[in-house]
């Protein structure tokens, strides 16, 4: 356990920036706080409850160029974007939910195919976590195996102290390398109980019990009831730090273009439509069921990870208040 003084934190930022890293941090812009690439320490907002979008874009951007292609008389040529050119990114100030989310996200991108675009970005990622000293009613991390001081996924974890200084835990070898490069910024920590510094989020349900129960609920009528107000947009999917569905598109002209991948959502009506016209998930309740079972039944079964970290973004941003912890509590009760 170390201490970083309030006045030394900009030095850590400066070191990382001068090492050529792009620093992805919470910034207040247009009336909302969201992760943005920063050019100065002063842009960063360290005291926030939750950002609009998660930090997943650091490894899984909303739109990502995969390759260029050209079509000529002689044939076609392809030029993949060079993954070696991906810059190192620092995710600065990710709450435990966001830091922990990279693990289940990685499980998807390395499940059967080793996605080089994602894995290369993740290899180059340094995560500076930020423990939570407050939360709101949409947070439910403790119900899904995460907690406000959790260090899972962080390379260095900062915990705010009342005076403006930070406790710093060096978690991984990547974190150790940073601490070793700027040792003057890290001083010994006073004997403090981290538990007392972080907020306390009441547990609403047990995630193992939820997983056991939801496994058998494919044909349950509750899905029809819960999904009636869902409008089938992608807001919950896109703000989620773990949702990973994507579309691949070619855009260009007759003689060439660009292939990219972009975020997609299983909530959209035509997400599963076949070329034949058949749609195995034709109604919104089957799509809602898919969302919850994917996160709480299929991912735990197939990939041994939970598909939710309780960040609450889906619930805050849903236009019709599909509050996921409310729905999950209802599922536990039926």
């Amino acid at each position: 356990m170390k201490l970083i003084k309030k006045e030394d934190l900009p030095g850590l930022y400066g070191y990382l920036a001068s090492a050529g890293k792009k620093i992805f941090a919470p910034v207040r812009k247009n009336g909302m706080v969201s992760f943005s690439f920063t050019s100065a320490f002063e842009e960063i907002e360290m005291s926030y409850i939750q950002t609009k979008l998660s930090a997943k874009a650091a490894a899984f951007p909303k739109i990502e160029k995969l390759m260029k292609y050209t079509i000529q008389k002689e044939g076609q040529s392809y030029e993949p974007y060079d993954v070696e050119k991906f810059p190192g990114i620092v995710v600065w100030g990710a709450h435990p939910c966001d830091a922990a989310a990279f693990h289940p996200l990685n499980a998807v991108f390395t499940w059967e195919t080793h996605d080089k675009y994602f894995t290369r970005r993740l290899e180059n990622l340094l995560i500076i976590g930020l423990s939570c000293t407050s939360h709101d009613e949409f947070c439910f991390c403790t119900s899904v195996g995460v907690h406000p001081g959790d260090t899972k996924g962080s390379d260095i974890q900062l915990t705010p102290l009342p005076g403006g200084d930070y406790l710093a835990e060096i978690i991984t070898t990547k974190g150790e390398a940073v601490a070793a490069a700027v040792p003057a910024l890290f001083s010994p920590a006073p004997g403090l109980n981290k538990e007392e510094l972080v907020t306390s989020v009441e547990k609403r349900f047990d995630h193992e019990a939820l997983h056991a129960k939801i496994n058998g609920m494919f044909d349950h009528p509750v899905w029809k009831e819960q999904a009636l107000r869902c409008i089938g947009c992608g807001a919950c999917t896109y703000v989620c730090p773990i949702c990973s569905c994507f579309d691949i598109q070619d855009e260009g002209g007759i003689f060439g273009g660009l292939r990219y991948r972009c975020w997609d959502s299983c909530g959209f009506g035509h997400f599963t439509i076949h070329t034949s016209g058949h749609n195995p998930r034709e109604s919104q309740d089957t799509r809602w069921r898919q969302r919850l079972m994917h996160k709480f039944s299929y991912q735990p079964q197939r990939q041994e990870v939970f598909g939710c970290v309780g960040c609450g973004r889906c619930s805050r941003n849903c236009p019709v208040d599909m509050n996921i912890s409310e729905h999950l509590t209802q599922i536990m009760a039926v």
């Binding site: 029809k224 972009c262 919104q284 019709v320």
Partner: protein
């Protein structure tokens, strides 16, 4: 609104309808759409000025229709939407009981759609003051400034299509953006694609928008997309003297040919 709850209970108990689509208290102080099928659940139905979702959206979805005959709690913008959708063959009078609710929290039991048509013509609805102010500000800008404004706004767009999802008039089973042979509109979130999407949607809504503002309300990135349609509505009123949702005539302003159509753009 006790009269509303009582009426809902009566409709459900007598099995005149199988579901009442209305509003209820949600989480975090929000109000959300409600679907009540049991008389005893009617007590959660409420109506006040914070009820903003355009419930007309749910009335043609097969997920709602399969429950049975529907009643809908309808503030003025929902009444206008119901008329628009009826002229577009999306709703049928027989399948619906319309419970009008006014800003003064009165309940109006419409006996038929003709009564709705009469009522909406007697009670015009305008834009909210802050939207009117924003439009004035945008119109006072130079073309370049306006372009910059929308560039900045659309740079936030994540193509979640909440704007489309929340709009009753976005009723196409397969949206233009869902076609991929050819891919008319980009699905990814990039500058050109974002403009494509929003401008295309605004054009498809021209003459059909009920000015409920829900597209802007639904946007998780706080982009005021509703202003695009609001402005087009004003332009259409200037050009054609009409607003959407005031008639049951099965005619579309921009798609129905009339011999006296103004053709001053042909030179």
């Amino acid at each position: 609104m006790n009269k509303l709850k009582e009426k809902a209970k009566e409709l459900l108990s007598s099995r005149a309808v199988q579901v009442v689509v209305g509003y209820e208290e949600g989480t975090g102080g929000k109000i959300r759409p409600a679907f009540v099928s049991r008389p005893e659940d009617a007590d959660k139905l409420l109506y006040n000025a914070d009820c903003h979702h355009n419930l007309a959206l749910y009335l043609y979805k097969h997920e709602t229709k399969r429950i049975g005959k529907m009643a809908v709690v309808a503030p003025p913008f929902v009444l206008r939407s119901i008329l628009i959708l009826t002229t577009e063959f999306q709703l049928e009078e027989d399948s619906l009981v319309v419970l009008g609710v006014t800003p003064e929290e009165e309940l109006i039991e419409f006996a038929n759609f003709k009564e709705i048509e009469t009522w909406v013509n007697q009670h015009p609805i305008g834009m909210k003051e802050k939207d009117r102010e924003m439009l004035n500000r945008l119109n006072a800008m130079s073309r370049d400034e306006r372009w910059q404004f929308w560039q900045n706004e659309f740079s936030k767009c994540i193509k979640c299509f909440a704007c489309r999802g929340t709009c009753p008039m976005c009723s196409c089973f397969r949206c233009t953006v869902d076609y991929n042979a050819p891919q008319w509109i980009s699905v990814g979130s990039h500058q050109l694609g974002n403009f494509d999407w929003h401008l295309m949607r605004a054009m498809h809504l021209a003459g059909r928008c009920s000015v409920c503002g829900q597209c802007g309300e639904a946007c998780p990135m706080d982009i005021p997309v509703h202003l695009l349609s609001f402005q087009i509505n004003e332009d259409i009123f200037k050009m054609f003297g009409s607003r959407a949702g005031l008639t049951l005539k099965k005619e579309s302003l921009l798609s129905t040919w009339k011999s006296n159509d103004v053709e001053n753009f042909i030179r």
